[in-house]
């Protein structure tokens, strides 16, 4: 696996449009978005509901294809890749963190992280240690054998972060990661991700309308009605001390 060079273009959207058929109507979710994200960014796509921020992340995350325009990930046009190849890209190069955590309820914290590791096709050797290390790094060393239902919301989101991180992806896409957390847990999770970004250079892209996320982001791309209306690079506010999960 190659690590992206910090500052190099990781993904690029060029004149991207995305239409969704809704019965007889066609809803235009994106109306020509052009954005470039470089490796190591900690960027938030902000905007109200329906602005298109989740659609942008779906396209960057190889979960969807554009109706028009091009999406490049690490120099490859994702529209030209087969479903199977897109699956491989997702498994190896992209980590996902969802608003609802979306852990597999019948698997333990360890197994949830292990599953992502196995799906990435990583070598069997040292897998157990890497999974343990990922869970330790998010502060869950003592909760590895618990199932999601036995964990708090904050702890579940930490498992989701460990699951995204364990395969050492080039990019982590977090879809409103704090939406289902209280402010204390939300802040702790964001600080954890900031630390990962700073320590490992992992690129994080968020979709959010949470001020707490925007306060920590170094770049905020604002969308409205499927268009980029502002692209602002900001100096982050001082990091609050992370609270427990």
């Amino acid at each position: 696996m190659t690590s992206p060079v910090p500052g190099a273009a990781l993904c690029q959207l060029v004149g991207v449009k995305k239409n969704y058929p809704m019965g007889d109507l066609v809803v235009q979710a994106l109306k020509g978005v052009s954005v470039e994200v470089t490796a190591g960014e900690f960027t938030a796509f902000a905007g109200p509901s329906g602005s298109g921020k989740s659609t942008v992340l779906n396209l960057i995350g190889c979960l969807d294809r554009p109706s028009e325009g091009q999406v490049f990930l690490e120099g490859r046009d994702v529209a030209t890749l087969s479903d199977s190849a897109l699956g491989d890209v997702r498994a190896r190069r992209i980590g996902f963190i969802f608003q609802s955590f979306n852990l597999i309820p019948v698997l333990t914290a360890f197994e949830n992280v292990e599953l992502a590791m196995k799906l990435s096709g990583a070598s069997e050797k040292g897998q157990k240690e890497r999974v343990e290390e990922a869970l330790r790094s998010v502060g869950l060393a003592d909760y590895m054998t618990r199932r999601p239902a036995q964990l708090s919301g904050g702890q579940q989101q930490r498992v989701a972060i460990a699951r995204a991180l364990v395969k050492q992806p080039a990019l982590i896409i977090a879809d409103e990661p704090t939406a289902n957390l209280d402010s204390k847990n939300g802040a702790a999770i964001l600080d954890l991700m900031r630390t990962m970004n700073a320590d490992n250079g992992t690129t994080f892209l968020f979709s959010t309308h949470d001020k707490m996320v925007m306060d920590r982001a170094r770049r905020i791309i604002r969308l409205s009605d499927g268009q980029v209306i502002d692209d602002e690079r900001v100096e982050p506010s001082p990091t609050p001390v992370a609270a427990g999960g």
Binding site: S54, L57, N58, G61, L63, D64, D83, S84, G87, D88, R90, A91, R92, F96, F98, Q99, S100, N102, I104, P105, V106, L107, E111, E114, L115, A116, K118, L119, S120, G121, R163, D175
Partner: protein
């Protein structure tokens, strides 16, 4: 793979009530299959074995007799049977060859012309022993000793009110069509378990030759091997024997009605098994589809993480097979127990319905299943087939879930 397998098994335990319902559906299907297999094997196996014994595994007749045999054409007989019997007995695999004459008669006790019809059969005593085991089926009296005596089926005896020691008048015909009455004393009354066979009157070959006026001949020669499976080789050997080139030789399953029935039985068994598998699979399909619908977001997440379509299908099929393993094992044991203790040991009484079957198509009134251990394995395997058939469609549906649906759901 280990993790996927563990995930599939844990998913099976997720909604215990639903999984129990699926397992119960499979259990019932497998139990039904086991009982069905044992019962049809017992019923048809018994019928075929008995029928082939009575009809002769291989039979030698004249070609014209074969064409008109339902009319009992006595004129189409083999006038000299000794050379034919010698050839048959010298054929490899043959353990016995016996001449036989059958004809329809009216029967009565006393001197009046009877109104009741029966079939009279004349053959050597060895044939009665080997093919019919007649002496063991005599419920009153004993086997006939000479040409003056007969054994009468209990239905025929009951029809005319005949008792042991009574003189029975049989009114038949000779090979040229002349009326031919004979009088025999009833030495025994038999019960061969089927209404059709209990309408027979059994006499010696000599008595029948005299009655039909076929002094040294017979209408049929029945040839037996050690087992029914030997009929194939014996039949082939006899057909190519130059000494029998003018005669018609046929295995039991080449002759009507069994030529058609043997094929139909196999087809019916397959169709019945197919219907049971299909109906059970529908039950599995229903519950597995509900599981897929409930887990759309979860499947989407796994697909987003790179789970391939094939692995998604395998995940659901493994879950269905996990449930089927439990349901199938219980079903095979329950079905095996019912098949053995109820259907085989106790049997199922078909009552008087079987008495209406045509002569020669001998069916016992009480049908006993014939359960074999291999049926446990076979029905269990079919239980897994039910799971694969029922689980395949939901699994394919799951594999088509687009990962983006994970992002959209539960917002």
């Amino acid at each position: 793979m280990r993790l996927l397998y563990a995930l599939a098994l844990r998913n099976a335990r997720r909604n215990v009530r639903r999984s129990m319902l699926t397992a119960t559906t499979i259990m019932l299907g497998v139990a039904l299959l086991t009982c069905g297999m044992a019962w049809t094997r017992g019923a048809f196996g018994g019928i075929l074995q008995k029928a082939s014994n009575v009809m002769g595994p291989v039979r030698i007749v004249t070609p014209k007799f074969a064409q008109k045999e339902q009319l009992f054409p006595l004129a189409e007989n083999m006038p000299e049977i000794e050379p034919i019997l010698a050839i048959a007995r010298a054929t490899p695999g043959v353990v016995g060859a016996y001449p036989r004459i059958q004809m329809p008669v009216t029967i009565t006790v006393g001197d009046d012309i009877g109104e009741h019809f029966a079939l009279v059969q004349g053959a050597p005593n060895e044939w009665y022993d080997q093919a019919l085991d007649l002496s063991h089926h005599i419920v009153e009296g004993r086997m006939f000793k000479d040409d003056t005596e007969a054994v009468v089926g209990m239905t025929a005896a009951s029809d005319v009110g005949a008792k042991l020691g009574d003189e029975l008048v049989l009114l038949g015909q000779t090979q040229d069509g002349s009326i031919s009455p004979i009088k025999v004393k009833i030495a025994g009354i038999s019960d061969l378990g089927s209404g059709a066979q209990n309408r027979f009157v059994y006499v010696s070959l000599g008595k029948m030759q005299w009655m039909a006026d076929i002094e040294h001949g017979a209408t049929e020669i029945l040839v037996y091997g050690a087992t029914l499976d030997d009929a194939q080789a014996i039949g082939e050997a006899l057909k190519v024997n130059p000494g029998l080139k003018d005669l018609a030789i046929a295995r039991w399953d080449e002759r009507p009605p069994f030529s058609a029935i043997a094929g139909i039985i196999g087809a019916l068994q397959s169709i019945a098994a197919g219907v049971i598998v299909f109906i059970t699979a529908l039950g599995v399909l229903n519950t597995m589809l509900m599981s897929v619908l409930e887990r759309t977001a979860e499947i989407g997440v796994m697909r987003a993480m790179g789970l391939k379509r094939g692995a998604t299908v395998a995940l659901f099929v493994m879950e269905a097979m996990g449930i089927a393993s439990i349901g199938g094992a219980v079903g095979a044991v329950v079905g095996g127990a019912i098949a053995y203790f109820v259907l085989e040991v106790h049997g199922v009484n078909l009552g008087n319905a079987v008495n209406k079957m045509p002569p020669g198509f001998a069916i016992d009134s009480v049908i006993h299943a014939d359960w074999e251990p291999y049926m446990l394995v076979q029905s269990f395997a079919l239980g897994l087939v039910m799971a694969i058939v029922g689980g395949a469609l939901p699994a394919i549906r799951a594999s088509r879930i687009q990962p983006v649906e994970a992002m959209r759901s539960r917002r």
